[in-house]
C-alpha cells in the first residue's frame, strides 16, 4: 500500500503552498497523504493565518507576496483555500503538532478546526510514516 507523509515545518507562503500542491498531487493519484504542521508551519493553520505568511525570499515587507498573489491570479493558479479544500475533499489528512503549539503559544481556538483532522506529536508522525514510502520535510 502506497502512502505519503509531509511535514510542514516552514511558515512561508511559497513553501506551504508547495506542500499543498504536492499533497494534492498525491491524493489525486489515489495515494493516502497526511500533512503534519509543526513549528512555523502551524501559522498557516491559524485563522486568516495563510494570508499573513511571508515569502521565504524577497518578501519585501509583503510586497513580494502581493506580486506572487497577482501572478497566481494571472496564471490561474489555485489559491491556498482552494488547494486546502480539494486536498481534504480527496481524502487528505491534516495533523497539527500539539507540542510545538505549546512552544509557539498557539491555542486550539487559534487554529482552524475546519482544516485540522487530528492533533498529535512525533509518535503520530512516526506511526503514520512507518508504512509510508514517501515522506517530505518542507
Amino acid at each position: 500500500m502506497k502512502k505519503a507523509t509531509i511535514i510542514v515545518h516552514s511558515g512561508s507562503f511559497d513553501k506551504v503552498l508547495s506542500a499543498f500542491i504536492i499533497g494534492n498531487g498525491f491524493v489525486s493519484m489515489g495515494i493516502p497523504t497526511s500533512i503534519f504542521f509543526t513549528f512555523w508551519g502551524l501559522n498557516a493553520l491559524k485563522k486568516k493565518g495563510f494570508k499573513k505568511l511571508p515569502l521565504s525570499k524577497m518578501n519585501f515587507l509583503g510586497l513580494g507576496r502581493l506580486l506572487i498573489k497577482l501572478k497566481m491570479k494571472k496564471y490561474n493558479v489555485a489559491s491556498f483555500e482552494k488547494l486546502a479544500e480539494s486536498f481534504k475533499k480527496l481524502g487528505g489528512k491534516i495533523i497539527a503538532c500539539t507540542m510545538t503549539m505549546e512552544l509557539m503559544g498557539i491555542k486550539y481556538e487559534d487554529l482552524r478546526k475546519d482544516l485540522i483532522d487530528e492533533y498529535g506529536t512525533v509518535g503520530k508522525y512516526c506511526y503514520e510514516s512507518k508504512d509510508a514510502n514517501i515522506t517530505l520535510f518542507i
Binding site: 491524493v27 489525486s28 493519484m29 490561474n76 488547494l83 480539494s86
Partner: protein, 76 residues
C-alpha cells in the same frame, strides 16, 4: 464501437494541480463502467493525468490534441 461519455471534466484554463485534482474527484464520484472525458489546456497535465491513471490502474481509451485543447478519455 465508440464508448458513450457519461461524465465530462472541464479543466479549460486550469493550471497545476487542478486538472489532476478535478480528474481524481470525478473518479471518486464515479461508478464502474463510467466513461470520463477530461478536456483541458494545461500542457503538462496532458502528460501527467495519464501518469495518475496508470498509478490508479485505469486504462485510457483515447488521448488526443485538438485545436484549442487536449482530450483524455478513460473508463472506470
Amino acid at each position: 464501437m465508440e464508448e458513450k461519455i457519461t461524465k465530462l471534466v472541464d479543466c479549460m484554463n486550469e493550471n497545476c494541480p487542478m486538472p489532476l485534482v478535478k480528474t481524481r474527484e470525478a473518479i471518486m464520484n464515479s461508478k464502474k463502467g463510467d466513461v470520463i472525458k477530461v478536456i483541458g489546456t494545461h500542457y503538462q497535465s496532458f502528460q501527467e493525468i495519464p501518469m495518475a491513471l496508470e498509478a490508479m490502474g485505469i486504462e485510457i481509451i483515447e488521448k488526443k490534441l485538438e485545436e484549442k485543447n487536449w482530450v483524455i478519455i478513460f473508463k472506470i
